[in-house]
């Protein structure tokens, strides 16, 4: 059992507990334990970032300093947290000016950061740390015949790309017995906060993603980021009203998808708690002949 020092971020604790719960459940099956860092703070992904990027770095310097006390690695499941934290870690080593500001801010709090923390996304950890054959062997409930849209969101590859191939999620979907559509929009923007403050732009982006998924026959969308999940699911109604479309696609996390295929119960994965219930789709998987 690997221990992963974990930064949940606000989404996983509030709105998107299903992601956290399913990540824990998946870990119990494939062999990791999430060890949440003590006293972490906001990653600044949405609010500060757009006002003062510098403050985002300072806030994250504290998170990195906390992480460094225990381990050289910090695993993150949220795309936005991943982007903020990995950017901070990179800039700390690349920019003398930012490192200086971070060091000074930490000093006031009586803390130090040595620049040694590697920030990892949970998808990357699952993909790189566990041989595919081993994972496939754990699949007891193959998701046969279910077409899924692999959606990474924009931040897992930007600006610091997670070291995974651009079809890592597709490979995991196939390994779970499902079928991944060729989703050209897979790393495009989900609209982020724009669905609130610029709905004309934000909803259009959500619509583009949903319409490609629908046109290519997806029954499920698989995400790696809580913000994407919310935008894609919660705003389907708003998109339908605005554009006269008829989207009704369940959106779940890759941890839920893998966990379900590996035999975890819907309850352990909090499946069925979505606004658009995914269970009818998951339960409709063709039963394997052999």
């Amino acid at each position: 059992m690997k221990t992963l020092q974990f930064f949940p971020g606000c989404s996983l604790q509030g709105f998107n507990t299903a992601y956290y719960r399913s990540a824990i459940t998946l870990g119990n099956i494939i062999g990791y334990k999430l060890d949440e860092i003590d006293d972490w703070n906001c990653c600044g992904a949405t609010a500060y970032f757009s006002i003062s990027e510098e403050r985002t770095f300072l806030a994250n310097a504290r998170n990195l300093a906390l992480a460094e006390k225990k381990s050289k690695e910090l695993t993150v499941a949220c795309g936005a947290c991943f982007a903020s934290l990995s950017k901070t870690a990179k800039y700390y080593t690349d920019s003398r000016k930012l490192a200086y500001l971070m060091d000074n801010a930490l000093k006031e709090a009586g803390m130090v950061y040595d620049g040694k923390v590697k920030v990892r996304h949970l998808l990357e950890v699952v993909f790189n740390e566990y041989p595919r054959g081993e994972l496939a062997a754990k699949v007891v409930r193959p998701l046969k015949g279910i077409k899924m849209a692999p959606y990474y969101g924009c931040m897992i590859f930007r600006p610091v790309p997670a070291p995974i191939p651009r079809d890592a999620l597709e490979q995991l979907i196939q390994l779970a017995g499902g079928e991944a559509i060729d989703f050209t929009a897979k790393d495009r923007c989900c609209g982020g906060m724009l669905v609130n403050n610029r709905p004309d732009v934000g909803l259009a982006l959500v619509k583009d993603l949903l319409s490609e998924a629908q046109q290519k026959g997806s029954q499920l969308m698989i995400t790696t980021c809580p913000l994407c999940q919310v935008n894609l699911e919660l705003y389907q109604g708003a998109v339908n009203r605005k554009y006269g479309t008829d989207f009704k696609i369940p959106v779940i996390y890759f941890t839920q998808m893998l966990g379900y295929a590996m035999g975890a119960s819907a309850k352990e994965l909090m499946l069925g708690s979505e606004l658009i219930n995914s269970l009818p789709v998951l339960q409709g998987a063709r039963v394997s002949k052999n």
Binding site: P161, T184, A185, D187, R188, D208, S211, E212
Partner: protein, 651 residues
């Protein structure tokens, strides 16, 4: 010991900050100094004569010039010493321009620092010893690696000058990328028509030995006499018998993707790479040959009237000795799959610029027709610049040729399909070159729509009825500051140029360096653009960095001229800075052996001690610094000389 000290004003470069008179006054008081003078420009003819006359009249045996950096004018003053009959290595320069006047603003401090450096030079020069340059004879033959346009040009130039040339090409035919192009910008010459006469000349020229389908395996770098080992891959066809009639190919049942057409068509297992191939000889690809895979068939043997098929051929090893090497190993097109947003490899009508070249070529897979995968003619085509270039995620550099290549494609589209709509997406239009801007104007006049903006993504998912069945490019038109959607039938990705796949290996083999982006590194970006740090190894063409055909040809000529100049002189002069070993002190620990980047140190089998191979030593001093028993020393940079210099500074 009589030392002359000369302080240069360098106009006001030095004298504007350093009090030159004071430095002269100070120098005159130091031991062994027979004369100290200053002059406005020491490097000028009268300045040099000043030194010469003092050497003759005062019998100086050491000279200190305090002026610019030695990298600038050391050779100038060494020559001045030689002309006056002194040994050129009895010179020491003090850099009071780069190290003092240019970086110190306070005149008092600057003058003090200049004095220290002059004192250091004086104390060093009194311990210097006369040295002689080493002369190494240069073999009168050249190895050219790579048979693209740059390699061909370099080989022809050297051969025309009467030198023996070995041209090594790893593919079955020479011609490189240029043979694959349809037209060349901006003159629209037929690429093959201007290239093939040169290719044919390569085989006709009796000074050139073409080693096709061969690779350099190893080279031992002895300046003036490189020992090269080359492997000739088996063609399984006897080249001396094959007439290139290609009857074998028409009868052969084995098929494989045609490399020359980038896999857009099939070729046979026995094939002539393309109709103008040089040498015009067949080759068998083991992977798709039924005989090699299943031990059946042998149809080619039956139909070959020249009896040239030879399944028993083995790789052949050749050993050559050459005086100079020209590396012209070319580039690799950027793999467009890496930009996943553009869907290359997934969206069928997204193609690369090189594929477009083959498509427009009359000998290409579509016989010169521009068609979609379903055979229809496109009504609208988008061309995207900077794919893989000018992008922090792939390559930061500009690939230089893509703007012009894209414009050429826009022109060819309008020429082949008069009604077609062409959208050209660029970031900046870089049409710098003779006749290039004019060509850009011409293409604009032909009705190509120029869009300033890099597409964000390409998708086949329509959002409006008129986008059905189209490829949609989503891009910000940065002139209008608006995100636009452009539905088209075909997209041509103008892919950038990257260092060749084997550049790393080649750089290792030939002991030359590469820049961070993988291209071969020249010795000096401005003043030695085709030389490498390894004497006798030159570079040409796109292996040094992205460049177009005219530039590659010019650079090939320059590399040939460098190689010819070296051979014409007949010998190679090496600086006399050579490491020496005191055998009484050497313990044979061997620490120095691994440190030497030039393989200039070897173990003496009988004694187990180490010896310096003078011809290989470049005088870098790495071994000297590492020797734990102080057995090594470097002529011209002896430990006591360096210590004396330091003492001068610290005095």
């Amino acid at each position: 010991m009589k030392i002359g000290v000369y302080i240069c004003h360098c106009g006001t470069n030095i004298a504007g900050v350093v009090d030159v008179a004071k430095v002269v006054e100070f120098a005159a008081t130091l031991p062994n100094v027979a004369v100290a003078r200053d002059y406005k420009y020491m490097c000028s003819e009268p300045g040099q004569n000043l030194i010469g006359e003092d050497i003759r009249h005062l019998g100086l045996d050491g000279v200190v010039v305090a002026a610019c950096s030695p990298t600038m004018h050391e050779p100038t003053f060494q020559t001045a010493l030689s002309r006056a009959g002194a040994n050129p290595y009895m010179l020491q320069m003090a850099s009071i321009r780069e190290h003092v006047s240019w970086v110190t603003s306070d005149p008092v401090e600057a003058t003090e620092k200049a004095k220290k450096l002059v004192e250091a030079a004086i104390s060093r020069v009194s311990l210097q010893e006369p040295l002689e340059k080493r002369r190494i004879p240069v073999k009168q033959s050249v190895l050219v690696v790579g048979g693209g346009i740059a390699g061909i040009e370099a080989a022809l130039k050297c051969a025309d000058a009467g030198k023996k040339v070995y041209l090594v090409e790893k593919e079955p035919s020479i011609g490189g990328h240029m043979a694959m192009f349809d037209k060349t910008f901006p003159t629209l010459d037929c690429s093959q028509c201007i290239l093939t006469p040169k290719m044919v000349e390569v085989v006709r020229n009796e000074n050139i030995e073409l080693l096709d389908y061969s690779e350099v395996r190893e080279i031992s770098v002895h300046v003036g006499d490189f020992k090269v080992s080359i492997v000739r891959k088996p063609r399984y066809v006897d080249s001396s018998k094959c007439t290139g009639c290609a009857v074998c190919s028409t009868k052969c049942p084995g098929k494989a993707p045609d490399e020359f057409n980038l896999g857009m068509s099939k070729r046979k297992a026995i094939y002539v790479p393309f109709p103008q191939a040089v040498p015009l000889k067949a080759v068998i690809d083991r992977e798709s040959c039924l005989y090699f895979q299943k031990n059946i068939c042998k149809v080619c043997v039956k139909f070959c009237s020249a009896d040239a098929i030879d399944f028993e051929q083995k790789p052949e090893e050749l050993e050559l000795g050459v005086g100079a090497v020209i590396l012209a190993t070319g580039f690799k097109p950027f793999d467009a799959r890496r930009v996943s947003e553009y869907g290359y490899g997934k969206l069928p009508n997204v193609i690369t610029s090189l594929e477009f070249e083959r498509m427009t070529s009359a000998s290409g897979p579509t016989a010169g027709k521009i068609v979609l995968k379903d055979g229809r003619e496109p009504e609208s085509v988008a061309i995207v610049h900077c794919v893989g270039s000018r992008n922090v995620n792939y390559n930061v550099y500009c690939s230089k040729i893509c703007c012009m290549q894209s414009l050429k494609h826009a022109h060819l589209l309008k020429e082949h399909l008069p009604g077609v709509a062409v959208y050209d997406f660029f970031i900046d239009m870089r049409a710098a070159g003779k006749g290039y801007e004019e060509f850009y104007k011409r293409v604009m006049g032909e009705g190509t729509i120029m869009v300033r903006g890099r597409p964000a993504y390409i998708t086949d998912v329509p959002s409006k009825p008129e986008e059905k069945g189209k490829l949609v490019l989503v891009a910000e038109d940065t002139v209008l500051s608006t995100v636009m959607r452009y539905p088209v039938d075909m997209v041509v990705l103008s892919v950038g140029l990257e260092a060749g796949e084997d550049a790393k290996e080649l750089a290792h083999t030939f002991t030359c360096s590469r820049t961070a982006d993988g291209f071969f590194l020249e010795r000096h970006p401005k003043l030695a653009p085709v030389s490498t740090p390894t004497a006798g190894v030159f570079i040409a063409g796109a292996s040094q960095g992205p460049k177009d055909i005219p530039e590659s040809v010019a650079q090939a000529g320059a590399a040939a001229a460098e190689a010819l100049a070296m051979m014409g002189k007949g010998y190679f002069e090496l600086e006399p800075y050579v490491a020496r070993i005191d055998e009484d002190l050497c313990s044979g620990c061997g620490i120095c052996l691994d440190l030497c980047a030039y393989n200039a140190l070897e173990r003496i089998p009988e004694t187990g001690l180490t010896r310096v191979v003078e011809a290989l030593c470049q005088g870098c001093g790495a071994c000297v610094a590492a020797c734990p028993s102080n057995a090594l020393d470097l002529d011209g940079f002896k430990n006591n000389q360096i210590m004396a210099e330091l003492e001068g500074i610290l005095a």
